[in-house]
Symmetry: C2
Subunit: 433 residues, 2 copies
């Protein structure tokens, strides 16, 4: 492919995820390291109202306008389903296009044919978005951990079931009541059974099993699949008594002795001290045991518009690299500056060695007040190191700047009642997973 | 590069990690998707005893035999240090070779020059092994999450410090006593200050900051760096009182408002319900907030021969792809077979709806015994659903086969005392992180 050429991308389907891709690529086209044009979009209804504004001349109801347009380099299949979507992906591959797909069902059912066609045409199929949207697990397995064999891969691959189980436990609520909520919130697929009965997880673990072991396992016939319908709140509480948490676990294991492989999806009791047991809500997690690297665990949002869009965009970037046959390197950013201590804020933990005498607390508190730092919690403790004439003052502050903190420390040092240099730690608060 | 050509790899240094790379590549050369030859190794002492047997004619004490040999395509710099290692990497790049490096210190100090030289020569430098060995975080940031900007990246990047903090808390032991142990176990670098005082973490977060933001931040002058020397056991216990755990946290944040960036390394209190707070021992973890994908967390061994070797081999695979300008796809594996139910074992949780009458327990226990399944724990509970004539029997089993379990279930169903189909869950026990 000639250098500097603008790469044209066509879309099959413009649902939630595709709109996410469109929006983010329109905002930051440079992340792809190439000039790209979002050139054609096949939809069922061109008049339908969408969150993103697409020039009407780019819309079509005829998929051939995408799969057969010789100017289009990359086709993103984001329409879902296993029949029409599969046929159109095959068409695009036959036409020599690189295909990006988020369609786990189609890939699980007939991925072998898709990959075969891609190989035959010297093209490629990228499908990061088909498994655990926010977790780049396809790339991790295929490239990052390429040195490894994989005796065990297991994890949480369906955000809807994990959301339901998490809320049942946290709210002591029944399966039915939370499911009703999940439906209201639009967390459950139109075909509920895909989520609830474990088929979505099964499609995903089948894709991971193919990546790890190069074989296709058919959910159902070759893989036991059980969902969460029959899990009672009582089961979760009793499991907790035994130090377990119930999660819908998809797994694939290989027995090196018998050289055999076993994949399954079922609600399982996971020990509370396993990281996977502590992945809650809509988050997905994949735990990968590699024979060289040992265990790695990867956690992220499993679904949703933006998490999935992030994966599709990564695939488009790889598709472009594939077309160019090069490796993209991150660009420099000269505009960034380093933050000043006055701009950086944190909450702090302070251990203060003080003389054990009246008025200490007042002097210390006054010092913090002077610098506008409000104390969150405070306790005074006798010293264990036998310095009975001294005491420990332990306190935590509310959010303040690094500058304020270093100022208060230099003032504290000067106080006659303070016996030692203050010992300061940051409290690292971030949004919860 | 002509197709089918054997790719020659040279090594600078043959220490622990390099020997790991050598061993695993000798065992599974096909993981690289190309014919490779481990052709030359520069060492200080050719006579030294090593775990891997290297043909003497491949050993040299003259680095030029590696950096200037026109037949060598890829040079792995695994000697460490920042002066000689840097000079030799530059030499290799100038000679047009692709360089793979695990040397975070050299990359952090003068990576800008290395990348510049690589770019100038149309070559490349790969450095996955330089940050969190077992976690393919370089690839995740650069490729898997390419669609994202990164407001916050934080985590545990030094296994030695995490090991010491973990044992202090678990064993109520002092910093000094555990440090002494870590020394005995060879977990501490020759230059202890690199680990203990946070410089190793600083080098690594600097590399991640470059990947995420394209700027180089100098530890010390531009980045506050504090290690764990002054952390007392008491601090850890008091932090726990406040629902925090003390970890050595390396982080880089970007403030989009001021377009400024702040990197730091310090012991920090992390909320106990943050996944990062529950990453213990020698494990590393990186939490990445992407503006598109949301939060992803990646956990794995941070150092050690094999985890680092896994990363170096992934880099060699990428270097080969770079040389070929193609994309490697995983090979099929026809030899694998699917496991039979009799080959797959697990521990089980069973909820049994039984009639509330004498002799039930005996009949049920007998049924399990008949199939050689030993019961681990058992409790009988009154039913909450008002069926007072019935009771719940909740039990967990020791490891047994899927076959045995389905056999016992079909027998249980036939028992007159069993009122409902047994409800079975697997207990998912795996090695702990």
């Amino acid at each position: 492919m000639e250098a500097g050429k603008t790469i044209k991308i066509g879309f099959l389907g413009m649902g939630t995820v595709a709109q996410g891709v469109w929006e983010h690529l329109s905002k930051n086209p440079n992340v792809l390291g190439a000039k790209v044009e979002l050139s054609k979009v096949c939809v069922r209804d061109t008049k339908k109202k969408r969150d993103v504004s697409i020039p009407p001349e780019k819309l079509t109801t005829n998929p051939r306008d995408v799969t057969s347009d010789p100017s289009i380099d990359i086709v993103c299949e984001l329409m879902g389903g296993t029949t029409r979507a599969f046929d159109l992906s095959m068409e695009a591959l036959r036409a020599g296009k690189v295909v990006v797909s988020a369609n786990k069902a189609a890939i699980c059912e007939r991925g072998d044919l898709l990959f075969e066609e891609a190989k035959k045409m010297g093209s490629a199929l990228f499908f990061e978005a088909s498994v655990a949207g926010g977790v780049p697990v396809v790339k991790i397995l295929r490239e990052g951990l390429v040195a490894n064999r994989f005796p065990l891969i297991y994890g949480i691959l369906n955000g809807t079931c994990n959301y339901i189980l998490t809320r049942m436990e946290r709210e002591n609520a029944s399966y039915e009541s939370i499911l009703a909520d999940a439906r209201r919130l639009g967390y459950v697929e139109a075909d509920e059974s895909l989520d609830i009965d474990g088929w979505d997880s099964a499609h995903k673990i089948a894709v991971l099993a193919y990546l790890a072991h190069g074989v296709w396992i058919k959910p159902g016939e070759q893989m036991p699949v059980m969902g969460i319908r029959e899990v009672k709140l009582e089961d979760m509480l009793w499991a907790k008594d035994f130090d377990y948490r119930i999660k819908l676990v998809a797994s694939v294991r290989k027995n090196p002795r018998t050289n055999s492989i076993f994949a399954s999806v079922y609600p399982a009791l996971v020990p509370l001290d396993d990281v996977i047991a502590n992945v809650n809500g809509v988050y997905n997690a994949v735990s990968i045991d590699g024979d060289v690297v040992g265990r790695t665990v990867h956690i992220g949002r499993g679904a949703g518009r933006d998490a999935t869009a992030s994966a599709v965009i990564a695939d488009i970037a790889d598709a472009i690299k594939f077309l160019k046959g090069g490796v993209c390197v991150r660009r420099e950013n000269k505009k960034l500056k380093l933050a000043k201590a006055s701009e950086v804020t944190s909450a702090f933990y302070v251990r203060l060695g003080v003389k054990d005498r009246a008025g200490v607390l007042a002097k210390v508190a006054e010092c913090f007040a002077k610098h506008g730092i409000s104390i969150e919690r405070l306790k005074q403790l006798a010293r264990s190191d036998g310095l009975s004439s001294k005491a420990w003052l332990i306190l935590t502050t509310h959010e303040t700047s690094e500058q304020n903190m270093s100022d208060v420390c230099s003032d504290l040092k000067k106080l006659s009642v303070v016996a030692e240099r203050p010992f300061v730690l940051r409290i690292f608060k971030t949004p919860k997973i």
